[in-house]
Symmetry: C2
Subunit: 596 residues, 2 copies
């Protein structure tokens, strides 16, 4: 079983050296969030994660959640650990001070969330979902609702969920049937059944606040009739005290591939009292406001999985003795060489490292954009730019990093050979747990449509052009060491190819809209490799100044950047080829002909 | 839970139309194996698999094997099903008639094995391992040993295992420590501990015959001191009757990612009586004689997994209603269109179909080569050719088809969205079960080294050149419909590229042997895509004559071949790029620098 160690040095390199976080926070008026405070928070978060959360990862998987007599019980130790988590104040970190939060930036919390997810994906989802509920309440609830529900959500005494999916309504939310009936007092009564509700029921907290989408009686069909509600498991008085049970119950929990420590629930609403968030029938656009942040969070799960798999595989590859290096024995005094001498093992380890560290740079930068969009003091132009960048990069990060995170865990299993398949080594659990990140919050296919149809073509290329132009211009002004010049040239060529590819798809799509869906996933994967390469080139450039005072880090960043450009980025070539194909061979078969 | 249906029509297309099996069997003197008999066997095998083996797939996963008081108990129903399997005579199908077998060809049994593996991977491994033990005994045991052990192995009353791995000795068999001490009567006493022994202990059969590699006392270190032994769980008298228990015990079973219904055992040998197979110290080369067939079997597991995932995903995609086609509603009378209208869902389904059907053509053709190598009547030149082709294609099929089979199951989960992650739908089990095929019988990395270092460069390119030349010449003599001409052109270009890529690696490897390991996996994947494309072009060509009498099959093969050449084969381009890179970025970091 690999023991997780928070990669503080790597995190600090991205936060301080790459993103200059101190400056970023000062600009946004986070006066408390000095680099010293950031480091102190990270060190404490690392300690807590490594000592309290990580040890429960295996037991969570083995025991899973139990559902008996309508109640969900989490695995042994989860309740106590969550209690410690609340007592230590971790839920409050990036929450509004008016409701008891510490008012620190979203991005700082994301770093802590990465640690938690890497150490124990299932556990990390309880606070993760709570943040989604909180963000929705803060964005769309009125002040009295906020005052009633926020304090205990902020403290972590209550947790939250997002109730979107129904059995017949997944990616297509317009099909939902849960109905809401208005009451004389302004509240609503909700009836319906939701499925796949992560953290939907459990024994960690005394109340659970569900954010629910439903259709108000008489509302239009489809997505134009969706409204957003807050529905507590237990009713809450005006003063915030717990009242009577609400008409909310857990119908069952799913038996699933992984994240066994997190209950995935059927939640039934039977005339449950709920409160409208935002305008009637505007629920879907209200959901979108929190989706970017939620999806950046899921992208971070991909990074976390890659990091955990890399740590496990690296330790094993350094210790496991098996065969000799083809270029001559490296440890002749031992029975065999450690397998890290073998080029193909190194290829797997460097792939994991490239995803974990490059993906980390991606999501941390995106988190600084979230900071800006949430900031009251940032200027409107900066907010618009941050929002535009997030809009474009979020589906890329969500889908690309979860797919690559999954690949990194699969490579982790391969590095271990047969031992990777055995539960006690922990590698196969990482694979099973992280596969969910490719599915929830919109599958890879849904992200790809969001990117290509909505964000890129929907803005007539404006979001993309602005991003690529800014990147290209920025790179042209940088002074690079000689070794990085060919990498910059390659990056610039890929940025140009991205634009050309987009134009060719747009042209084809004018004749046949199915060209969009046919190209979408390969288009997204192409984009992901390019953005990853950009982050690695930036890291190599920043690390260039480390040559004398930290030659190991300098060397690691230079070599891994070369690896990324020579052994990962070429995969973008195939994706461009595929995204450039016509959709003919996809669309010609009748449904019945796929197998006669 | 998808119910498995043996794709008889597809199997028959490959066997009869593509491979002309009747002719092949007649040439080898299998006079009984007429096309009519083949069809009758397949139909019975399909019935048995669908009604007896498939229904135990889920329960096998849920219950797993139990280990109590030194005994392994298989999941509920496995014992009864295995009994039926034996009573129906399935184990005897391709076994020698002198020991009670039906003497039918290996290739026919492989088709049945594909069905079993697709229906229930864990169950199929029990007979699968028995075949490995039988083949080794027939190839290397003396007649008296064969007479003593074969009849009950053939009948299936006893099962077999292959005991290679030890805790410190996996890919590197030279490190093994199990020792064998010669006895006065010519037998040996074996002591040592083996791990990862599939079907190692269970309650299905009254005896288990272990094929064990061990080092005879005083033998040289490393691979030159490995000998092969037969070690029964219960001693067997000269007349074949069961005797006293042998010094063989199960120490524990592994908790693992999948194939829960098959016990993966630690098997301890304590002064256990064993019998030498073949020459002392020649055990490793003896192992190689059965490895090709065993690895073709594992490649078939990849095909089986792709087939099962395709069946499940196709059924779901035809029924699940979610969103409208971007090119206009296809089922306006329904609440939404079935998801098979979406191009990206079709991309996933066609990828699965291409792997299942193209992979099937690959492994069935290889099985005909195994038939030839096993035949007493085939002429030596034909045997040499078959052996050469197997030598080259086996690592490609084993690694490429298991990796692609795994990808097909992962796509199956994606087609189901969140439901794919839930156990009751069966898709996630397919993923977990088939991941083992990328690991056992040599990981993907080991297969890649076997291909590039041993088979291709080890023959100074001769095996490859002979294969590619034959393929290219054959294709040039074929008369193709116009639509397939560009595909042939593409295939021929790829065959040429394969040779050029090989030469460039060989040149670099002369300076630095690490170039081989660095290029190996991408080299193998490139080769896999090319061979898959070749099979699809052949299928499209053969199916061209179906246009009038079976237009659906004609259409399906033409369109899928176009899909393969435009949407799968382009991935070979990236692998060629990667295999063409120098190994520098892989080898420059010191082990300590991967993470400082």
């Amino acid at each position: 079983m690999p023991s997780y160690h928070a990669p503080l040095k790597e995190m600090q390199f991205v936060l301080h050296d790459l993103l200059n976080l101190g400056n970023h926070y000062a600009t946004l008026g986070y006066d408390d969030a000095t680099p010293e405070l950031v480091d102190a928070v990270l060190e404490e978060a690392a300690k807590f994660t490594e000592s309290v959360i990580a040890p429960l990862n295996r037991v969570g998987d083995e025991q899973g959640c139990r559902f008996e007599n309508g109640e969900v019980t989490t695995p042994q130790g989860f309740k106590e650990a969550y209690q410690q988590y609340v007592e230590a104040g971790w839920p409050t970190l990036a929450q509004p001070t008016e409701y008891g939060g510490q008012g620190l930036p979203y991005s700082l919390n994301l770093v802590c969330a990465e640690m938690q997810s890497a150490a124990n994906h299932a556990f990390a989802m309880y606070p993760g979902l709570t943040h989604g509920a909180q963000a929705t309440l803060m964005a769309h609830g009125d002040e009295s609702l906020q005052a009633r529900f926020m304090p205990k959500l902020v403290s972590g005494e209550w947790t939250g969920t997002m109730c979107l999916t129904e059995a017949h309504s997944g990616s297509d939310l317009g099909l939902l049937r849960t109905k809401a009936v208005p009451q004389a007092d302004g509240s609503f009564r909700l009836s319906g059944s939701k499925i796949f509700i992560s953290s939907g029921d459990h024994d960690l907290a005394e109340n659970i606040v569900h954010i629910v989408i439903a259709r108000i009686e008489g509302a239009p069909a489809g997505t134009k009739g969706i409204s957003l509600f807050l529905v507590p498991k237990i009713q809450v008085e005006e003063d915030g005290a717990l009242g009577a049970p609400n008409g909310v119950s857990c119908g069952s929990i799913e038996h699933k591939m992984g994240i066994h420590g997190n209950a995935t629930c059927v939640i039934n609403f039977d005339d449950a009292t709920g409160y409208l968030l935002g305008e009637p029938n505007r629920g879907l656009s209200a959901m979108f406001t929190f989706m970017n942040a939620a999806r950046v969070g899921v992208a971070t799960e991909g990074v976390a999985a890659a990091e955990a798999a890399f740590q496990g595989a690296l330790e094993y590859a350094r210790e496991r003795l098996q065969m000799r290096s083809l270029s001559g024995a490296k440890c002749p005094e031992k029975a065999a060489d450690p397998i890290i001498v073998h080029p193909d093992v190194r290829r797997m380890l460097l792939t994991q490292k490239a995803i974990a560290e490059g993906g980390r740079a991606m999501v941390y930068e995106m988190a600084t954009w979230v900071d800006i969009t949430k900031s009251a003091s940032a200027d409107p132009a900066a907010k618009q730019r941050a929002s535009d960048r997030l809009s474009l990069l979020t589906p890329i990060a969500k889908a690309f990093l979860t797919e690559m995170g999954f690949e990194a865990t699969s490579l982790g299993v391969q590095v271990f050979g047969g031992h990777g398949y055995v539960a006690e080594w922990g590698m196969e659990q990482l694979m099973r747990d992280t596969k969910i990140s490719c599915l929830y919050e919109g599958t890879t296919g849904i992200q790809a449509l969001d990117l290509l149809a909505r964000k890129v073509l929907g803005s007539r290329g404006a979001l993309l052009e602005s991003y690529c132009t800014e990147l290209a211009q920025w790179w042209m002004t940088q002074s690079l060491p000689d070794a990085l010049l060919p990498l910059r040239q390659s990056l610039l060529a890929h940025l140009q190819q991205w634009g050309e590819l987009t134009q060719s798809i747009a042209l084809r799509a004018q004749k046949n809209p199915d060209e969009i869906g046919a190209a979408s996933v390969d288009y997204l994967m192409f984009a992901g490799y390019v953005v990853l390469a950009h982050q690695w080139l930036r890291m190599a450039l920043v690390a260039d100044s480390f040559k004398s005072h930290d030659p190991d880090l300098w060397q690691a960043k230079q070599v891994t950047a070369q690896f990324v450009f020579t052994r990962l980025l070429p995969k973008a070539a195939s994706h461009a080829l595929l995204a450039g194909q016509s959709c003919d061979s996809l669309m010609q078969l009748d449904s019945s002909q796929f197998r006669s």
